[in-house]
Symmetry: C2
Subunit: 185 residues, 2 copies
């Protein structure tokens, strides 16, 4: 059997939104990084809010190659699960991450830029709608931009090319099963 | 800021189903492989049906480490997009993949076994419900089993711990944008 190698006639950098309350938003974005590596593309992941709890992707991505970069900029999910940091500090972290995102766009080194949890950061007022729209408008035509996190803003969805909503049909925590490494973090 | 390292009191191999018509099922599973690598866990991915079109994960996963294995067993999606192979051949490929899945379970070498597109293969009658239930029942208690593909069977969902349904809110193909490397394959 011959293997087909697809090659789009027109290369286009997409805006992709992965939202919803179900498991799989960040993991979808990480899977795109694996795909990108198989096409010799570079990928940069900026994690909003995350940064306080070790996740498998921190070391996992390092094993891919030097054209993959992961920066976790946060101090955990603002206002939930007994997170000890004040809103002001979370907002400052997220504002720094916005600056970093614009810098990464300007660098022009990245085929894919993933802004993990930015939808969530927007709905929590850690970043402003204008800032997210500005990022989308400033992205290069051939760079893919992936925005993850629950509660994606309607105006962000409006601007996106591909939008998936992940619905939680059921989750192991409902049976009091703790988060498991490799699957949940 | 101190980094928290979660460690579940009880380690449990989960059954995870990723279904729905939206983009992100296989990519979610690939993201779990990155996570697994960051926890020094092994992962084996058996792709049902896929195997005829190059996808970024084929080479991307190789860059991770030797404890990651990807086997694409198929000849494309049965009965769609002008796929030239007869049903009988697709079914034989899927039956071989079922045998391989049972063998991988028996080997006991894998922390995560991903059966990519098996839900789809079941709904297309390339594999039988009893075979999928058999795989779920035979898995070791500490091995995670991930079943992807649209139209997951209700009895499979019933047995699963975590189930996400990915809804297509919109997709670039609706604007006649071709599949893009790194994102779509």
């Amino acid at each position: 059997m011959e293997i087909t190698r697809l090659e789009p006639g027109v290369k286009k950098g997409l805006v992709v939104v992965i939202t919803g309350n179900g498991k799989g938003k960040t993991t979808t974005a990480l899977g795109m990084v694996i795909r990108a590596c198989g096409h010799n593309m570079s990928a940069c992941i900026l994690q909003f809010m995350k940064g306080d709890i070790y996740a498998g992707e921190w070391d996992g991505l390092r094993k891919l190659n030097r054209r993959v970069e992961l920066i976790s900029t946060g101090k955990g999910f603002c206002g939930i699960q007994g997170n000890p940091y004040p809103f002001k500090e979370h907002r400052q972290n997220a504002q720094d991450a916005v600056k970093l995102a614009l810098q990464k766009i300007e660098e022009g080194l990245w085929d894919i830029l993933i802004l993990d949890e930015i939808n969530n950061a927007l709905s929590l007022n850690l970043v402003d709608l204008e800032q997210v729209l500005d990022i989308i408008h400033k992205k290069a035509a051939d760079m893919h931009l992936v925005l993850t996190g629950r509660d994606a803003h309607p105006q962000v969805i409006e601007l996106a090319d591909t939008v998936s909503e992940i619905i939680e049909v059921k989750h192991a925590y409902q049976k009091d099963i703790e988060p498991q490494p490799g699957i949940d973090y």
